[in-house]
């Protein structure tokens, strides 16, 4: 900022009253004293803020356009979104237009990679991981199963039964996939499966 001399000559043309902070404050007090002045000041302030905000939006948009981001951000809207995803409001249907009745679904247990009925996943996982209220008992039994070199199918099934503390054998069976036929056919491999699982987690 060197050419000080040249600028002061330009500045001299402007009606520059030497201002101080105190002068500004007293000017302001003077201005808002009478209702008309206050009104004008308020309007001016409001107009200024709106103006400033508009300029801000202009600059932001200008910047986006210059960097090619205006088109990049806009993109292209998905086709048929309006009809495909419209919220449904009908009795006995959910917002997707699907019946609210429970449908059996399966999920793959991340612990043993087997297909499990979703509705029974939590109890399955408890046993599968050897956790929960009976965790220590199950865990120790599992360790015993592992140590007992012949991981016989009988010891595997005791583990399964005991893991289901309050339940029955029947409940146990429901654990596995909701597909009943499949359940029967895999009945045999079930014990093998849990044996394999024992070896995996411990």
């Amino acid at each position: 900022m060197q050419p000080l001399g040249s600028t002061t000559t330009t500045a001299a043309t402007a009606a520059q009253v030497p201002m101080t902070a105190a002068a500004i404050t007293s000017n302001f007090q003077e201005l808002i004293k009478e209702p008309k002045g206050l009104d004008e000041a308020a309007n001016y302030l409001y107009q200024t803020l709106v103006d400033d905000a508009v300029a801000g939006i202009f600059i932001e948009t200008h910047h986006l356009r210059k960097t090619n981001n205006l088109t990049a951000l806009d993109g292209v809207c998905e086709e048929n979104a309006e009809s495909t995803y419209r919220i449904c409001e009908m009795p006995n249907l959910d917002i997707f237009g699907i019946s609210t009745a429970k449908k059996p679904m399966d999920c793959t247990c991340p612990n043993c990679d087997r297909l499990v009925a979703a509705a029974r996943f939590a109890p399955h996982l408890e046993k599968c991981m050897g956790m929960g209220r009976n965790s220590s008992r199950i865990a120790s039994r599992r360790l015993a199963t592992k140590e007992g070199t012949s991981a016989s199918s009988s010891s595997s099934s005791t583990y399964l039964q005991s893991g289901n503390a309050g339940g029955t054998d029947d409940e146990d069976d429901v654990d596995w996939s909701s597909d009943k036929r499949k359940k029967k056919s895999t009945q045999n491999s079930r014990n093998n499966g849990s044996k394999k699982n024992n070896g995996k987690t411990f």
Partner: protein
């Protein structure tokens, strides 16, 4: 490639460096301190017409202020000066190009000035628009398809299968997924997983969940992988039994927080010499533990409230506790971070208040000065003796998401019971009366309700459902796999167990 203004600006910078820009921006655009504000108020008027109007321009070649339009341009033309700075938004203007220009390095300097300004005025940093990098721009252009989230569409909503008494988890997941700041974070792919095995990372799993909610599928989602990860990481939650949604919520925040901290430290140790990554690692904010660090336990990384992870950024507030000695009126103040506020609902015992009927009643009770009787004397540091005192809670800082836990389950030596009394809660909540400093000029403590978790049933057995705000004024009820529309009245008439409020005006750092 970053933006470099125009060739005129480049040659200007080569000749004059960035110094003039930095000073002019600091004093007349950002006003970094009181001196600057005074200087701007006094000197920043048009050299042509004397007006103090807005949208003034400062010549970057000499000392000259001019109104936008003819006044500044005639100066630039006459003096053959090219570059001027627009002072209300800090935008550069090149007369030779007759256009606004954008320069990345100038922007960096300007940001430093804006931060100084915010710090000096003790207010939050102004909102800055996202400026995609050249790489991001190309990605956006190459993948032009956009999915919009609209109030009358199902995008962003998904039912959750009950995996066997896992409704407590489904409710909390629904509330979390509908937390605007959290979805912004995950939908903008901000989680940079440090661990190689991302299938073991809980935060990655949550990130995937967000993708699933917005994928456009209608079938319910199964959270079996999330459950498996949570059980693996939090042994105390593991096991098939009915669980408390509140306990699960806090445990989930804790797990996510610990994962973020871990991922960050792994990430940092990996690229120690490299670039510092995104802006999110900007020096941990102002986490100066002001006075008596009350809960000194735990290592630095595991003590929440001290870190900058997304969970702490959204959920951590600071509770102030003032203990006033009745003998000398000396005040001892402690601060404690919190993730949620647990509110008593039962009859007031000690100091005769009424049984709360509204959330405000609960909060008033929570922040009321409590007299600690002769049985609970506290050692006063001024008197150096044990004295009777009063204790009062107030909120030092509030998180962006305030969650309230209505203590409906009462466990005492005599009886365990559920308090099902109706507690009225508002859609719009102003927390100002409960703040430690009520007269913070820039503080805005207004919040809006966005999720309510309800418990139906008795203390022994029951079912959790949640109401979540899909879009403004659009509410849905989440009952495991069934998502249905709900009215605001339904939401407000519900019993309420966990209430989630989101801050209306966000503050930036």
């Amino acid at each position: 490639m970053s933006e470099t203004g125009c060739r005129h600006y480049q040659s200007y910078v080569k000749e004059h460096s960035y110094d003039t820009f930095r000073v002019i921006d600091a004093y007349f655009a950002a006003c970094v301190n009181k001196d600057a504000r005074e200087k701007k108020a006094i000197h920043c008027n048009c050299f042509e017409c004397g007006s103090y109007g807005i949208q003034m321009y400062a010549c970057l070649h000499c000392i000259y202020f001019g109104c936008r339009g003819a006044h500044i341009t005639s100066h630039l033309r006459a003096k053959k000066h090219n570059v001027a700075l627009e002072l209300s938004h800090g935008t550069l203007y090149c007369y030779a190009c007759r256009d606004y220009i954008y320069d990345a390095r100038s922007r960096d300097y300007a940001l430093i000035n804006r931060k100084l300004e915010a710090k000096d005025l003790q207010k939050s940093l102004g909102w800055q628009p996202w400026i995609p990098s050249a790489k991001e721009t190309n990605l956006l252009l190459a993948n032009a398809r956009r999915r919009l989230v609209r109030p009358n569409q199902t995008i962003g909503l998904r039912g959750l299968l009950n995996l066997g008494s896992t409704c407590f988890m489904n409710c909390i997941v629904q509330a979390l997924v509908h937390t605007p700041l959290l979805s912004d974070y995950f939908m903008s792919d901000r989680h940079d997983c440090g661990s190689k095995s991302s299938h073991k990372c809980l935060v990655c799993e949550v990130s995937r969940l967000f993708q699933e909610f917005y994928a456009g599928s209608r079938s319910p989602l199964s959270l079996h992988r999330l459950l498996h990860l949570i059980w693996n990481h939090a042994k105390h939650l593991a096991g098939y039994e009915q669980q408390d949604a509140h306990e699960f919520f806090i445990a989930t925040l804790d797990l996510l927080h610990r994962h973020c901290v871990k991922a960050k430290s792994e990430h940092e140790s990996k690229c120690n010499s490299g670039t510092g990554g995104s802006s999110s690692t900007a020096g941990g904010g102002n986490s100066t533990s002001s006075s008596s660090g009350s809960g000194g336990g735990g290592t630095a990384t595991h003590c929440y409230g001290q870190c900058n992870c997304i969970i702490d950024q959204i959920f951590t507030g600071m509770l102030q506790s003032d203990v006033v000695c009745q003998a000398c009126n000396g005040v001892s103040t402690t601060f404690d971070p919190f993730w949620d506020i647990s509110l008593d609902l039962g009859e007031t015992t000690s100091h005769g208040g009424v049984t709360p009927k509204t959330l405000i009643d609960c909060l008033e009770r929570y922040t009321r000065a409590e007299h600690l009787g002769s049985a609970e004397k506290i050692k006063c540091s001024a008197c150096k003796s044990y004295q009777e005192s009063t204790k009062q809670f107030s909120l030092r800082t509030l998180p962006s998401v305030v969650s309230f836990h209505l203590k409906r389950f009462e466990h005492s030596a005599l009886i365990d019971r559920k308090i099902s009394s109706f507690i009225q809660f508002p859609v719009e909540l102003d927390m100002t009366p409960f703040m430690s400093e009520k007269k913070n000029a820039y503080g805005d403590f207004r919040f809006s309700l966005y999720a309510v978790v309800n418990h139906l049933g008795t203390i022994d057995t029951g079912h959790y459902t949640a109401y979540v705000r899909h879009q403004k004024d659009t509410w849905v009820k989440c009952d495991d796999h069934i998502i249905t529309m709900a009215s605001l009245k339904q939401v407000l008439d519900s019993e309420g167990y966990l209430l989630f409020y989101h801050k209306n005006v966000l503050e930036y750092e």
